[in-house]
């Protein structure tokens, strides 16, 4: 279960000059505006975590940042150029996305699904090479899915399946990773293991952007935290600088206590609930 640094290093792409920012974008589905005039900068080499209540527009923002949804106003810049002006495969070589939910084709095996992550690196006459094979092995090793490789994806447990999807994004070997709730379905040990893997990837020079619902994990692992509500950014910065009782109440309408995490000294959020209210 241990993750060796050697493996992680293979994961890094040689030029870590990726840079992603949104310039006053308006994102909407048909006529429903989700975010208006939103500007966001993903710091170079950061592990950025986005938090916020359900339906506040986190997934929508990731879709805009990864060119899945074209902003009706403003633009998303990738390495200084409008992301829309790139060839779609070029974007896919720089930026990988783990959507919040995915469906696997019927009857596909784990290794074959992970192999789909190599698509942006392939073409009609170069459909499968040594490099593809190495990337797939490496991604499956990192996510501990190698022993599942010949199983059918539809016959896996929810958590196993989630790790396979993560492996597929890792096989894409992009310097930028956008992860929408990567830890859903995972038990606590696998959650921490995956977050540690992301931390290692980040320390090797990759830029990560993840949506997380667990505030304590967000505060512990994020180097840059973005708190959203109703499609707007309420606060952003280092977790230890921005996570306060007021912020959590403003964003979630939840009373809580913020104490220091005894292990990492990052903010630890303890919800009060009814018990806490009664005491006061």
């Amino acid at each position: 279960m241990t993750i060796t640094k050697v493996n992680v290093r293979n994961q890094v792409i040689s030029k870590p000059n990726a840079r992603l920012l949104a310039e006053s974008i308006t994102i909407q589905y048909d006529h429903r505006v989700i975010s208006k005039n939103l500007s966001i900068e993903i710091p170079e080499g950061s592990f950025t975590v986005i938090i916020g209540p359900n339906a506040c527009g986190k997934s929508t923002l990731l879709r805009a940042l990864s060119n899945l949804l074209k902003p009706s106003e403003g633009q998303v810049l990738l390495d200084g150029k409008n992301i829309h002006s790139y060839k779609s495969k070029e974007v896919a070589k720089k930026l990988g996305l783990l959507p919040q939910s995915s469906t696997a084709p019927e009857g596909i095996t784990v290794a074959n699904l992970v192999a789909h992550g190599r698509y942006p690196h392939q073409n009609l006459i170069r459909q499968w090479t040594e490099a593809d094979e190495l990337a797939v092995i490496n991604a499956m090793e990192l996510t501990n899915t190698l022993e599942l490789s010949n199983r059918f994806v539809d016959e896996l447990s929810g958590g196993q399946r989630q790790r396979v999807w993560v492996a597929m994004v890792l096989a894409q070997q992009t310097p930028l990773l956008l992860l929408d709730e990567p830890t859903t379905y995972l038990d606590i040990a696998h959650q921490i293991e995956l977050l540690e893997l992301f931390k290692d990837l980040n320390e090797q020079g990759n830029t990560l952007i993840a949506v997380l619902h667990d505030l304590n994990q967000a505060a512990r692992y994020a180097t840059h935290l973005i708190a959203m509500k109703n499609g707007k950014v309420i606060a952003q910065g280092k977790p230890c600088e921005i996570v306060t009782e007021q912020l959590i109440e403003e964003v979630y309408g939840l009373k809580c206590m913020v104490i220091e995490d005894p292990v990492t000294h990052t903010p630890l959020i303890v919800p009060l609930g009814r018990a806490g209210i009664n005491e006061n």
């Binding site: 060119n67 974007v91 469906t103 084709p105 095996t109 290794a111 192999a115 006459i125």
Partner: protein, 348 residues
């Protein structure tokens, strides 16, 4: 040596084409190809004048001349080649539509593209009074595309819902069926009779002159389908994932629909609507290969079905040559009923 256990056997090719060859798919394709060759030789031997295997081969390779060569090369061979190529075209067309609609019922013969092509053909034959191949082919293509467009507009509002497309398609198919009858009833009998013969789909009387242009078209569109196969397989992962892998969804889907409609329309222009092959071949291939992912097994199974059905149609009632469409319609009807029942049961 294969270092990853994919759960399937692959053969790595490292020539100019670098790919993993799926061993099971390749084996099944090879077996069906052998069967197709055997049926072809049989089809070249039998008929009102029976020939021996030696006579067939010497006619094919030019050692014989005269009447026997004419029979084999000019009369029987075009029919065999056309059946093989059209069968592959229909099957791949069905496979594309079933993959886009994510539904085994989403095939051009069920959702009305074949009927639409036939309407186009009837319009050219009966209303415009032309019967050259090019005008019939254009009529067939326009009919197919117009139907595709109408179904698209009616069914694709608010997302691509496979089942909705199929319901609208079946309705379209029925409406077009009555339009076709109307066109036939309103025309002069002798023209209508020859046009009506198209309605069941037939390879009777096919020759090189009428078959070759369509065979050429179908081969071109089959090659295009092979090029588009990889993005199509990415789309099976869902739109978001496909897009994040660099697939341009709208362009890919549009091109695939054009390819699939053209495959069906080119074949329909020559032999009329033939059902069942597009519907069943991809599903039979899936049973054999246990995977989607390659058109090759689907294509050879389509060839096998159409060629087999045509040989059967010529032999099943001694002394009479049935249109191949009658045979596929009977088998296909039963298969469709079974498929609908099974889907209705899983849906409820």
């Amino acid at each position: 040596m294969q270092r990853i256990n994919f759960g399937r056997k692959y053969l790595q090719l490292n020539g100019p084409l670098k790919m993993r060859l799926d061993v099971r798919n390749a084996t099944i394709t090879a077996i069906f190809l052998a069967v197709i060759v055997a049926i072809s030789v049989f089809a070249l031997m039998v008929g009102s004048l029976k020939l021996s295997i030696d006579e067939v081969f010497s006619a094919l390779f030019g050692q014989t001349s005269g009447f026997k060569r004419t029979i084999v090369v000019n009369w029987r061979l075009p029919r065999v080649i056309v059946a093989i190529i059209f069968g592959a075209g229909l099957a791949v067309s069905g496979s594309i539509f079933q993959s886009i609609t994510k539904n085994p019922l989403g095939s051009p013969d069920v959702i009305g593209f074949s009927s639409g092509s036939y309407t186009g053909v009837l319009f050219v034959l009966l209303v415009l009074g032309s019967n050259s191949f090019s005008s019939v082919a254009i009529g067939s293509l326009i009919g197919g595309f117009a139907t595709a467009l109408i179904i698209y507009l009616l069914a694709f509002q608010g997302g691509t819902h496979g089942f909705r497309l199929i319901i609208v398609g079946i309705a379209m198919s029925t409406i077009l069926g009555s339009i076709n009858s109307m066109l036939l009833l309103q025309s002069k009998t002798e023209v209508a009779l020859s046009a009506a013969a198209w309605g069941v789909g037939s390879l009777n009387g096919i020759d090189w002159e009428h078959g070759l242009p369509a065979v050429f078209l179908v081969i071109v569109f089959l090659l295009l389908a092979v090029v588009m196969n990889r993005p199509l397989r990415e789309m099976e992962l869902g739109e978001d994932t496909a897009k994040s892998h660099g697939v341009r969804i709208n362009r890919t889907q549009g091109l695939l629909i054009i390819i699939a409609v053209s495959l069906t329309a080119s074949a329909t222009a020559v032999m009329g609507p033939v059902t069942f092959v597009a519907l069943a071949a991809p599903q039979i291939a899936l049973r054999f290969t246990k995977t989607t992912g390659s058109f090759a097994p689907t294509a050879v199974i389509g060839s096998f079905l159409l060629l087999g059905a045509d040989v059967l149609a010529q032999r099943i009632i001694p002394g009479t040559i049935l249109p191949v469409g009658v045979v596929t319609l009977s088998i296909g009807g039963l298969y469709l009923v079974w498929l609908l029942f099974r889907q209705a049961r899983t849906a409820s």
